[in-house]
Symmetry: C2
Subunit: 420 residues, 2 copies
DNA sequence: TATGATTGTTGCCCTATGCAACAAATCGAG
DNA sequence: CTCGATTTGTTGCATAGGGCAACAATCATA
């Protein structure tokens, strides 16, 4: 579909757009024949054939094994030749700079993780320049050397508030302030590899969209439940970043302190991981407690644990309702280590939601299969997403050189195919 | 810019897209010459010339009066011929079905109101079918008969919760429930005029984007302060409707009741028009009070009025911060009759915002010049917006008729130009 | 075996943009 | 006043991409 912002469309872009449309269809739907693609994309079969030929030439697409007959057992007419993405065609790097670890993942064109590696890291003591250096080194160590040439971008995520350009305003947990992360990365990332940076909550959300195969239509609210509570909002698969990159800073939303009437507290001081564990430990009179232990006690219905879980449920419900009043999500996805608590108390959360709001509409919450690689994976997915959109496809068109000034350069030859 | 969802792009659509891009540029920037358009849209001058010729033929564009020289007093080179939209080329109808009134406005291609009319109406006693009938009759009475043929759509807004398809789930104020508003409208709207329906809060937001010339980039939060408190969220000019069409139901957001510690109340029962006037009247021991009187007393610093205004400021600030935590708006626009209070207490609101949130980022609030026509205007703007986008341009492409089945119809001739 | 259905390919047409050259219109310098 | 510089608008041609229709290939079914 076309969307004329304030830019026109040139002939050349049509092919780019249609090639990308084919790649996206293959990615989202699976193996398709030329005729299938023509129907799906409302193209003529002949056009579909031309486009597939281009993509075959670029090595981005290949015929599937002769499983052609398997999918559609008995269909009349000449069977089509199914095409699929070539997973090894291109790769994308994702890096997470955390407080205690650096993680790197490599995903392929199909969006699957093909390599991953982690390393202990002291995020607090390491200055930004050194951190990016170490992180990129780990990433380059993770991707196989012969694949580096086919790497189409690097995504980096960190627990930081950043604006549209990726400039870090402040990262309280890392102790960063006013860090030009993209500039630092350019110094250590090979040549002109595209680089994107993103807040870790948003990266998690992107990864969840990809990984959980959640339908990327409608409004989805992602909650990351760790020590901090972050959120990501996606509308039709596109992330909402907000005016200052602060959208989803739900951890600072104020919620009632049920223990002390009239007092409001930031959400994450009630339902965050540290807060919950501290409350549980205090109740038992011990120094520290672990999440696994707490979860086990909730399962055992130990009164102290259940009481804390009940407070957690009530507060989570309050936050969900407040959020729903504003953005009305189709889906709610919970992630982070503390998301494991949700299945144990979902009935209570739902009951509290019902109790709070009079108008009854559901807030369906899904717990995503959380992995420690989620944020790094999401960072890589950003580049994957970019590759399968027109943003990844170079300059819009050269800015129409003036009449006489014929710039002798043969930059027509610079077009090495629309994708790549 | 192209955005391949899962649809391809045909040759024919290029011209459509570029013609629309030209119209949008003229709408947003003002009169431009062919060369200006070529630069702005990154087109070749010759292409720009072709496109302008098409639009001239369609009567959507015309040369400006010879004011050419006025704008750019002394520029070297042959002066360009400026083009502008033909306001009378097309018209759009906007209808607001309210509780006490029906309102209809007519806007032209430039988005300016050229006619408007209102009529008393008993929204509560009138069933939906009759309401749409009366409303459309008023609208058809408002638009001049010779303009009806050039009408390109009807937008209808009502204080109702509706889903993506315009089906009204429930409209508490009107007493509606499960009403298929689009179907009712189709029965009374002439032939195949495009019809769109929208919640009144969202319509207000769209109208404010158009009218206030607010930059349609970034995240904007619109608050409508009447008896109810509604909100609209726009991202890059596009409205967020939410999963159930309930996005922006901020009036039910829970806020602390400062008078009674620990109690939470819906926002609109604290800062809504009725609530404020009732509180003020109660404080003075009178039966009722008017908004004008209350505002005057606040201006006079009458203690009772100031106290209520202070509570209003504090609660508004709380709601703004809660919203900012989630969607981080670039801009906040206040509308509705009670928005007149904001300029009197803006310093207090800002102070409360600062006090609530530790991380300091601004929430700039703008009060829009509210008129009672805002919602109807916004409803008409939806169609204007649609006209200047590809959605308004008929079928994507005929669905590729099968091989032998040559549909003899000469529907190639059906293309009476891309726009129209 | 014949028929129908579906797929993939090929040649041709239409359309839209890009490009380069040229005429037109205006300003400023001499 | 004339001439050059500069910008605009137009025109003819080249390029490229998708639509269309016809045809061969392939499979199921009668």
């Amino acid at each position: 579909m076309l969307d004329p912002g304030l830019t026109s469309v040139s002939s050349r872009r049509i092919r780019q757009s249609n090639e990308i449309a084919v790649l996206r269809a293959l990615h989202r739907i699976g193996p398709l024949s030329r005729a299938d693609l023509a129907r799906t994309l409302r193209l003529n079969r002949s056009s579909s054939g031309h486009i597939v030929a281009s993509l075959l030439g670029l090595g981005l697409v290949r015929e599937t094994a002769v499983a052609t007959a398997q999918a559609e057992p008995a269909r009349v007419g000449r069977p089509g030749i199914l095409f699929e993405l070539v997973p090894d065609a291109v790769f994308f790097l994702g890096i997470e700079i955390g407080v205690e670890h650096i993680r790197a993942v490599v995903i392929d064109l199909e969006g699957r993780i093909v390599a991953h590696r982690a390393e202990p890291f002291d995020g607090i003591a390491t200055p930004p320049a050194r951190a990016t250096e170490v992180a990129v080194a780990l990433a380059l160590d993770t991707i196989a050397p012969e694949r580096l040439g086919r790497c189409e971008g690097v995504g980096v995520t960190a627990p930081a508030q950043m604006d549209h350009d990726g400039l870090v305003r402040v990262a309280p947990i890392l102790g960063w302030r006013a860090v030009d992360l993209p500039a630092l990365l350019r110094q250590v990332v090979p040549e002109a590899l595209p680089v994107m940076v993103e807040n870790d909550g948003n990266a998690f959300a992107i990864g969840a969209i990809y990984g959980h195969s959640a339908p990327p239509v409608g409004v989805t609210l992602f909650l990351v439940l760790e020590t901090g509570v972050g959120a990501g909002i996606a509308i039709d698969g596109a992330l909402v970043r907000g005016g200052h990159g602060l959208a989803g800073e739900i951890g600072h939303m104020l919620v009632p302190d049920w223990a002390e009437a009239g007092r409001m507290r930031p959400l994450e001081t009630v339902i965050g991981l540290e807060a919950v564990l501290a409350a549980y430990a205090a109740g038992r009179g011990v120094e520290r407690s672990t999440l696994a232990e707490f979860l086990a006690r909730v399962r055992d219905r130990e009164p102290a644990a259940v009481m804390i879980a009940e407070s957690w449920s009530r507060t989570l419900a309050f936050a969900l309702v407040q959020a729903a009043r504003l953005i009305d999500p189709d889906h709610v996805v919970l992630g982070g280590s503390l998301a494991a608590l949700y299945p144990l108390v979902s009935a209570r959360v739902i009951a509290h939601v019902r109790a709070i709001q009079e108008a009854t509409f559901p807030i369906p919450a899904i717990v995503t299969h959380q992995s420690e690689w989620a944020s790094a994976f999401g960072a890589a997915c950003m580049l994957h997403q970019r590759f399968l959109s027109l943003e990844g496809q170079g300059a819009p068109d050269r800015p129409s050189a003036p009449d006489g000034v014929a710039d002798g350069a043969v930059d027509n030859a610079g077009d090495d195919g629309p994708v790549g």
